[in-house]
């Protein structure tokens, strides 16, 4: 299993969620985060923003779905500008459903 964490623009988050739901990946967790990338924030006129608001979407999936999900997020979150975000894929060894106590997704 893999955990996919995508940091996307807040205004694109719902598009990404809808695109994922349309492809059958409805289960996810969303949180508001602030962060910055390689560009070290953004300078708008005389005002410098060090931390930019983003939305972090987190979902755990089987290994074989990772490529498809990354592709969906890439497509839905794309604007072509700096600040579109990043997607991280990390390993998950076990998953448990609390309601049933069963192992696996």
């Amino acid at each position: 299993m893999k955990m996919i964490r995508a940091i996307v623009r807040p205004e694109k988050a719902e598009d990404v969620v809808d695109a994922l739901a349309a492809a059958g990946y409805v289960a996810l967790t969303k949180m508001d985060v602030v962060g910055r990338g390689k560009q070290k924030g953004i300078q708008v006129g005389s005002i410098y923003y060090d931390e930019l608001p983003k939305v972090l979407l987190m979902l755990v999936t089987e290994d074989e779905n990772v490529a498809e999900i990354v592709e969906i997020i890439n497509r839905a979150a794309y604007t072509g500008n700096f600040g579109d975000g990043k997607i991280f894929v990390s390993p998950v060894e076990e998953a448990y459903t609390i309601r049933t106590g069963s192992r696996g997704l």
């Binding site: 409805v26 996810l28 967790t29 969303k30 060894e93 998953a95 609390i98 309601r99």
Partner: protein, 121 residues
């Protein structure tokens, strides 16, 4: 070392913390999150009354408020912690949440620069 990421009901948070502290795992990080599961967000999972338009809509709510709890423990403590979290949070109803176990390669305590096991004890 393993990171245990649990997504639980917000109203079970206090009890979860108490039980984990009693077992000797007082250190954790928690975060308010929104999420949904296979059911695509069910109305009726929250304790306050919802308007009729919300209940009628397909799936009900878009997101359900949850609490994310994350703690890093030694490999041998994983079954104990997962068991404790599962036991405390189980109500049997949909929306009890999930527990994920992820590998962690290194931990450093910033104050003392201790690494590995010493950093999480």
């Amino acid at each position: 070392m393993k990171e245990i990421v649990a997504i639980i009901r917000p109203n079970k948070m206090t009890r979860t913390k108490e039980v984990l502290a009693a077992l000797g795992f007082p250190a954790l990080t928690a975060c308010k999150v929104l999420g949904r599961g296979k059911q695509k967000g069910l109305a009726g999972e929250v304790s306050f009354p919802l308007g009729p338009e919300l209940v009628q809509e397909e799936g009900g709510m878009r997101y359900v408020p949850k609490r994310l709890v994350s703690l890093v423990v030694e490999d041998e403590d994983v079954p104990l912690v997962v068991g404790a979290i599962t036991k405390v949070n189980r109500t049997g109803a949909i929306g009890d949440g999930r527990v994920f176990v992820c590998p962690v390669e290194e931990a450093v305590r910033i104050r003392t620069q201790e690494q590995g096991t010493a950093a999480i004890m």
